[in-house]
C-alpha cells in the first residue's frame, strides 16, 4: 500500500507537469492549427534563460524564472512571425508547416547546444525541501508543479471566458475562417496564443531546471508528452489537455504498480492507440 500511495502521488505530480505542458501546446495547436514541435526547444530556451539569469547574472530565483518566461515568450512569438506566418499567408499545406516546425526544432536545439554547451546546467545552491506524509514523500518542486498548474490553468480559463481576446481565441479555435469573416484579427490572435503558450511552457521548464537540471535536448520529451496530452484529451480543448496530461501521468505511475517499469514508455502509446481507436477526436473534445 505504501508503494501504491507513493505512485499515486507521483502520478498526480507528473500529471500536473504534463498537463501544463499540454495546455501551452494545446492552446497554440488548437487555435492556429500549427503543430508547433519547436515548442520543445522554446521550453528548453526558457530553462536556459532562467539558468543564465540565476547562475551567470546572479538574479534571485523568482526573477530568473520570470526571465525564462520572458525569453520563451519572445522566442515563441518570433517563431510564429518569422517562420510560420509566411507559410500561413501563402496557405501552405499543413505538412509543409509541420516540416518547417521540425526544422526549427532541430535548429533551436542545436543552437542551444552551441551557445551553452552540452553539459548539464544546474542552479547551484538551490535545494528543494523534502517532506513526508507517513511513508509518502514529496518535495517543494512537487508542490510548485501542482500549484503552477492550478494557478495558470485557472488564470487561463478566466482569460478565455472573461476577456474579448479570450473569446476571440475561442472563436478562432472553433472555426478560424468564420472568426476571420466576423472581423477577428486572426493574425493578432495567433501572436497572442504563441505568446501565452510559450510563456506557459517556460514555467514547467524552470521547475525541471531546478529539479533535474537543463540539457539541450530536454525539449524533446516535453513536446512529446504535450502532444500526447493534447491528442488524448482532444485538440482544441484546454480542459482536455489538462485531463489528458493527468491521464498520462497516472498511467505512467500507478499503471506500474504491478507491471514491470520497462513498460513505462510503451504504456503512453498504448493509451494513445486505445483512445484514437475508441474516440479519435480525443477523450474530452466537446466537453
Amino acid at each position: 500500500m505504501d508503494l501504491f500511495l507513493q505512485l499515486l502521488l507521483n502520478g498526480f505530480v507528473n500529471g500536473s507537469h504534463y498537463a501544463l505542458l499540454g495546455v501551452g501546446f494545446g492552446l497554440i495547436f488548437g487555435t492556429t492549427n500549427i503543430v508547433h514541435f519547436a515548442y520543445g526547444p522554446v521550453y528548453a530556451a526558457g530553462a536556459y534563460s532562467a539558468w543564465t539569469a540565476a547562475a551567470l547574472l546572479g538574479f534571485p530565483l523568482f526573477l530568473a524564472g520570470l526571465t525564462g518566461v520572458a525569453a520563451a515568450t519572445v522566442l515563441g512569438v518570433a517563431s510564429y512571425l518569422l517562420l510560420y506566418r509566411p507559410f500561413v499567408r501563402r496557405d501552405a499545406p499543413t505538412f509543409v508547416v509541420l516540416i518547417a516546425s521540425l526544422g526549427l526544432f532541430i535548429l533551436l536545439e542545436n543552437l542551444i547546444a552551441i551557445l551553452f554547451g552540452t553539459d548539464k546546467k544546474v542552479v547551484d545552491g538551490y535545494s528543494a525541501g523534502i517532506h513526508f506524509i507517513g511513508p509518502t514523500f514529496y518535495t517543494d518542486i512537487h508542490i510548485y508543479q501542482i500549484a503552477s498548474l492550478m494557478i495558470l490553468g485557472l488564470a487561463l480559463a478566466a482569460f478565455l471566458r472573461l476577456t474579448n481576446y479570450g473569446k476571440a481565441i475561442q472563436a478562432m479555435t472553433d472555426n478560424a475562417d468564420m472568426a476571420r469573416v466576423i472581423g477577428i484579427d486572426t493574425n493578432k490572435v495567433s501572436i497572442l496564443v504563441f505568446a501565452i503558450g510559450s510563456a506557459i511552457s517556460a514555467v514547467p521548464a524552470v521547475l525541471i531546471l531546478l529539479r533535474d537540471g537543463a540539457l539541450p535536448n530536454m525539449g524533446f520529451i516535453a513536446v512529446f508528452v504535450a502532444f500526447l496530452a493534447v491528442v488524448v484529451g482532444g485538440v482544441g480543448s484546454i480542459l482536455g489537455a489538462v485531463l489528458g496530461g493527468f491521464l498520462l501521468g497516472m498511467v505512467e505511475n500507478v499503471g506500474m504498480w504491478q507491471i514491470p517499469t520497462e513498460w513505462q514508455s510503451t504504456i503512453a502509446f498504448i493509451v494513445l492507440f486505445f483512445v484514437l481507436l475508441v474516440r479519435p477526436q480525443g477523450l474530452f473534445k466537446g466537453t
Partner: protein, 387 residues
C-alpha cells in the same frame, strides 16, 4: 552531347584522382576517421571525445608528425548512437576520404559498421562504447575502454565484499544498459546473491520517480544502478530525496552527474575507467593541463580514451612506415598490433591488447564523498571475457 559526356567523364576522373588515396609517406596526411555522437542527446560524449582526439593529433603534428606525415581528424556524426547514421558516416569516411583507421564510439553504430570494417579492412578502435556484444564483431575492431563485463563484475565483486545478498537494480533501456543488466542477472546469482527488484528507465526520461519508489520498497541490501549520464545524476539525487538509505553502487559518475546530484551522491560506489593525472604520470599531467587550458574543464576518461586511441593508431602507422608500408590498411595495422600488443597508456604504465581485442586495464573503484567529489579506493582486477 557526346562532347559533354566526354568532358563530364574527364572531370569525374580528375576528381577521383584528386580524392584518391593519399600517399601518407610522401609528407601528406594520414587521415583518421572518427564516428562520434556530435548531436542529439549524447552530444556531450562526442564533444569530449573529439576534444581528446584533436589534442593528440595536434601534439603529434606539432612534433613533426609520423616521420613527417601529419595526421588529420575527420569526424562523422552518428547522432548519439544511431546505427544508420553510423553506417552513412562510415561510408563517407571510406568513399570520400579513403580512411583506413577509425575511432569509433557507442555500441549500436560500432556493431553496425563492423561488417563494413571487415570487408574494407578498416582498423577501428573504440574508447567509448562498452557493450560486450562488440567483442569479435570485426577482426579489426579493438577497444581501449574496459567493457561492461569488467565494470559490472568489478562492482558486483565489491558488493559481495560488502557482504550483500539481496540486489535491486535499475537499468537504462539502451543497448549498454541492457547488456549490463544481462551480465548482472548472470553474475550476481553466480556469486550467491538474489535479485529482488529489476526496474528499467528510458534514456533521458522525464520521470524516474516510479522506478525509485519501487526500489525503495524492494527490501534490497543495495541498489545497483546500470545507468549513465545524465540519468545517473538524476537517479542519485532522486533516490536520496526518496529517503533510500541502502548503499547505491554503479558504473558511471561523470562531472555532469556530480553537478546535478551534489551531496546526494555521497556514498555512491562505482567502477570505471580510471583517468587521473597522478604525480608519477607526466604524460597524463600534460594532457590534463592542456585540456583544462583549452576548455576550462577537467578531461574525463572518454576524452582520455580518444586521446590515447589516436596515439595507438599513430604508433601503428609509425610501425607500418618502418616496415616500408606507405599507406597501411586496417589488416596491416592489425597485424602490426598483434606483433607487439603492448602500448603506452595515458592512464599510466602500459596497456596490453588481449586476444578478444580489449585492452587490459585495471578498473578503478571509487566512492563519492560528502562534498560530491569522487575518491579513489582501489583497483579491482576483473576477469576479462574471452579469456
Amino acid at each position: 552531347m557526346r562532347r559533354f559526356l566526354g568532358l563530364t567523364f574527364c572531370a569525374i576522373s580528375f576528381a577521383a584522382m584528386a580524392v584518391g588515396p593519399a600517399r601518407a609517406a610522401e609528407g601528406e596526411t594520414f587521415k583518421i576517421g572518427a564516428l562520434l555522437g556530435m548531436t542529439g542527446a549524447s552530444s556531450y560524449y562526442g564533444t569530449v571525445m573529439s576534444r581528446g582526439a584533436q589534442i593528440a593529433i595536434d601534439e603529434i603534428n606539432a612534433d613533426g608528425g609520423i616521420d613527417g606525415t601529419k595526421l588529420e581528424l575527420l569526424i562523422e556524426d552518428h547522432k548519439g548512437g544511431n546505427a544508420q547514421a553510423g553506417v552513412a558516416g562510415m561510408n563517407r569516411l571510406i568513399n570520400i576520404h579513403d580512411i583506413k583507421a577509425v575511432l569509433t564510439s557507442f555500441s549500436p553504430p560500432t556493431l553496425a559498421v563492423a561488417p563494413i570494417a571487415t570487408e574494407k579492412k578498416i582498423f577501428m578502435i573504440n574508447g567509448g562504447g562498452f557493450s560486450a556484444k562488440m567483442i569479435g564483431a570485426s577482426p579489426y575492431l579493438f577497444h581501449n575502454r574496459s567493457l561492461a563485463t569488467d565494470f559490472t563484475r568489478g562492482i558486483l565483486l565489491r558488493a559481495k565484499e560488502h557482504g550483500f545478498e539481496k540486489m535491486a537494480m535499475i537499468s537504462v533501456k539502451t543497448d549498454a544498459g541492457e547488456n549490463v543488466r544481462e551480465i548482472a542477472h548472470q553474475f550476481w546469482p553466480e556469486l550467491g546473491g538474489a535479485i529482488v527488484a529489476d526496474e528499467s528507465v528510458a534514456y533521458g526520461a522525464a520521470n524516474m520517480d516510479t522506478q525509485i519508489a519501487k526500489l525503495r520498497t524492494s527490501g534490497a541490501d543495495f541498489i545497483f544502478a546500470a545507468i549513465f549520464r545524465p540519468d545517473a545524476g538524476t537517479f542519485l539525487k532522486r533516490s536520496k530525496e526518496f529517503g533510500i538509505t541502502v548503499p547505491r553502487l554503479g558504473i558511471e559518475y561523470t562531472p555532469d552527474d556530480q553537478k546535478l546530484a551534489g551531496e546526494a551522491a555521497a556514498g555512491f560506489e562505482f567502477t570505471t575507467d580510471y583517468f587521473h593525472p597522478t604525480d608519477d604520470n607526466p604524460w597524463a599531467q600534460a594532457f590534463y593541463g592542456k585540456y583544462k587550458e583549452l576548455f576550462n574543464e577537467e578531461p574525463d576518461y572518454y576524452a582520455a580514451n580518444y586521446y590515447e586511441g589516436v596515439y595507438v593508431i599513430a604508433e601503428l602507422v609509425r610501425r607500418a612506415f618502418e616496415a616500408g608500408i606507405d599507406n597501411p590498411d586496417g589488416a596491416q595495422l592489425t597485424e602490426l598490433l598483434w606483433k607487439e600488443p603492448t602500448f603506452k597508456s595515458v592512464y599510466g604504465g602500459d596497456m596490453v591488447f588481449q586476444e578478444n581485442g580489449v585492452a587490459q586495464k585495471r578498473v578503478g573503484l571509487f566512492e563519492v564523498q560528502a562534498d560530491s567529489e569522487k575518491k579513489f579506493l582501489k583497483f579491482i582486477e576483473t576477469t576479462v571475457p574471452g579469456k
